[in-house]
């Protein structure tokens, strides 16, 4: 840890905090000592919340998003359009798209993207399960909504190739300038990409 000796219990606590993403040794130490400053009930509630969340939340057996019901609230909603599946990397992406209230189809959460540096191969993603969902013949369109980074693009490319024989409509979300913002606030790389992906307008 930060070059200091600590009581074994504190050492352990810091190591636990250090497992969290974005938390380095210094922050881990600060968090550990902060926990000690809390009243005992709050610490118990904190620990309880961790365990409870872990015990309650499971993966939806249909779309593999994290949920407290089986299947998840989207998959069990009969008003959703079952002909469209939007493929995303993480459950948090589902929430983002749900916020739009415009999308009424279903989801499929891959639980990651193809990334050799993290040892994630296509087999490690929920791709087999996606193919199984297509067997019913109900699905007509797959929207590939993986992140627009190198790994996300690669995953989209992989899926596009894999799904081609199914004869579905396969689409990729567009990327470019955020809606409602000004061009002046967009960074040059995004703008340059938006220019590349420009479309014709005003055609009958």
């Amino acid at each position: 840890m930060t070059g200091l000796f600590h009581a074994p219990v504190m050492q352990n606590l810091m190591e636990q905090f250090g497992k969290l993403p974005g938390v380095g040794p210094k922050t881990a130490q600060r968090l550990a000592f902060f926990v000690l400053s809390l009243p005992k009930e709050e610490v118990a509630a904190f620990a309880e919340a961790l365990v409870q969340a872990k015990e309650t939340m499971t993966f939806c057996p249909v779309c593999f998003s994290l949920t407290d019901q089986t299947p998840c609230y989207v998959c069990r909603d009969v008003t959703r359009d079952r002909r469209t599946i939007c493929v995303v990397e993480e459950t948090t992406d589902v929430f983002s798209i749900e916020r739009t209230r415009d999308y009424r189809g279903l989801y499929h959460v891959l639980q990651g993207s193809i990334s050799p540096m993290d040892g994630r191969q296509p087999e490690d993603l929920r791709i087999r399960e996606l193919l199984q969902r297509l067997e019913s013949g109900e699905v007509e369109e797959i929207i590939l909504a993986t992140n627009p980074d190198v790994e996300g693009e690669t995953t989209a490319l992989y899926l596009a190739r894999l799904l081609k024989p199914f004869g579905l409509r396969i689409t990729r979300i567009a990327h470019g300038i955020p809606v409602g913002s000004n061009l002046e606030h967009a960074d040059a790389a995004t703008l340059s990409q938006a220019l590349e992906g420009r479309r014709e307008i005003g055609k009958a």
Binding site: P116, M117, P122, V150, E151, T154, R161, A189, S192
Partner: protein, 385 residues
């Protein structure tokens, strides 16, 4: 383009210093190790938002302090803007770049505001150094004029990194013949696509840079020498703009596949290419004299000036660090002539004025630099620029 003022705080050996530049020629005079180059370096920093390789930001901080600030006023044909770059090492190291008072989201967004061409003795590595140095030279030029290119380079690096990771894993599993539909092919198709775009842009740029360099070289050597830059694909095959790059890359991939799997690295692509610089048909790196190599680098740098002007409609600023003493009388005269002909803002470091005071065609400003202080400023010539 112009930089009209520069203010430094805790930067290198400057605690607090400020100077106003003239739009003509600015001369930094002083003995060795007084801080002349540091001024050039600070101006360069303002133009690209980072230190001249391979210097680290931490090394730029005045000894014992925990932050440095570089401020400057830039002028281009769109108008003027203040730039401020601050780097600090408290708690978490961070760099903030402000342009016109607004914090830039990406530091790279500064590029293009003030384009600069730097010529220092280290530039000899363009000729003598590794292929990487020559690629960097070309990539810098293109990145300055195209953000799309800079983005492609970054994407390519990432793809390459991921592919190499995959290669190493395949090697561990002893899969020597991955079939066509494998994961490897997935990365390769993208590497070929992005790599092709990169090479295409490089060839295109070289097509513009080549005649400009030849012209400059002839001017510098009074028409005696003929220079040529050619693009070497995979360090062995000369290629031209008209060639089918996708085909070339796919071929190279096929050829290197076995080796790639054995070494766990990618042996083909724009990161393996080189530039071949010849003088009167002779390979300069191996057979050129020191003087020929130096003149060639100067010609390349002067060609860069014209290239940037062709692309952006404005001359970049020219930074000449410690080069006057390295050129013979004839070439020095040619260089000074060239500088005087064009309305380029110049920054020159030298140990004394000798040979430089004769440039009456342009306005000049002399700065005497001593131990991290600019102790005198003196203007010569009319303020007509």
């Amino acid at each position: 383009m112009l930089i009209t003022s520069l203010a430094l705080q805790n930067y290198r050996n400057y605690q607090q210093e400020r100077c106003d530049f003239c739009p003509g020629i600015n001369l930094f005079l002083g003995d060795n190790a007084q801080g002349k180059t540091n001024l050039i370096e600070a101006i360069y920093y303002l133009s690209i938002g980072k230190a001249y390789r391979p210097v680290k930001d931490d090394q730029l901080i005045y000894w014992g302090r925990n932050q440095f600030t570089i401020r400057g006023t830039l002028e281009n044909r769109q108008g003027a803007a203040k730039v401020e770059i601050q780097y600090q090492t408290d708690e978490k190291k961070s760099k903030t770049i402000k342009l016109g008072g607004l914090i830039l989201k990406k530091n790279e967004d500064l590029s293009g505001c003030l384009t600069s061409v730097l010529f220092s003795p280290e530039n000899m590595s363009i000729i003598k150094g590794s292929p990487q140095e020559r690629r960097h030279f070309l990539d810098y030029d293109i990145s300055q004029i195209s953000r799309g290119y800079a983005k492609n380079l970054a994407v390519y690096q990432r793809l390459l990194f991921q592919r190499n990771n995959l290669l190493k894993r395949l090697r561990e599993k002893k899969i020597s013949h991955p079939d066509k539909n494998s994961e490897l092919e997935l990365w390769d198709s993208q590497l070929v696509e992005v790599g092709g775009k990169i090479i295409e842009k490089r060839l295109q740029t070289l097509g513009k840079l080549n005649p400009l360099t030849r012209l400059m070289q002839r001017k510098l050597t009074l028409g005696q020498e003929n220079i040529e830059i050619r693009y070497l694909f995979n360090r062995k095959k000369e290629i031209y703009h008209s060639m089918n790059l996708t085909e070339l890359l796919l071929e190279a991939r096929q050829e290197a596949l076995e080796e790639d799997l054995r070494y766990g690295t990618t042996q083909w692509g724009p990161h393996r290419d080189d530039l071949l610089i010849t003088l009167n048909g002779i390979l300069l790196k191996q057979f050129g004299s020191q003087g020929q190599q130096r003149t060639t680098v100067l010609a390349l740098k002067l060609a860069e000036l014209e290239f940037f002007r062709g692309e952006s409609g404005e001359y970049p600023i020219l930074l000449l660090d410690d080069v006057m003493s390295e050129l013979d009388e004839n070439r020095r005269q040619q260089l000074l002539e060239l500088i005087q002909e064009k309305s380029i803002q110049c920054f020159i470091t030298a140990t004394d004025k000798s040979g430089l005071e004769k440039m009456e065609k342009r306005q000049m400003k002399f700065f005497e630099v001593r131990q991290g202080k600019i102790i005198s400023r003196e203007i010569q010539g009319e303020v007509k620029e």
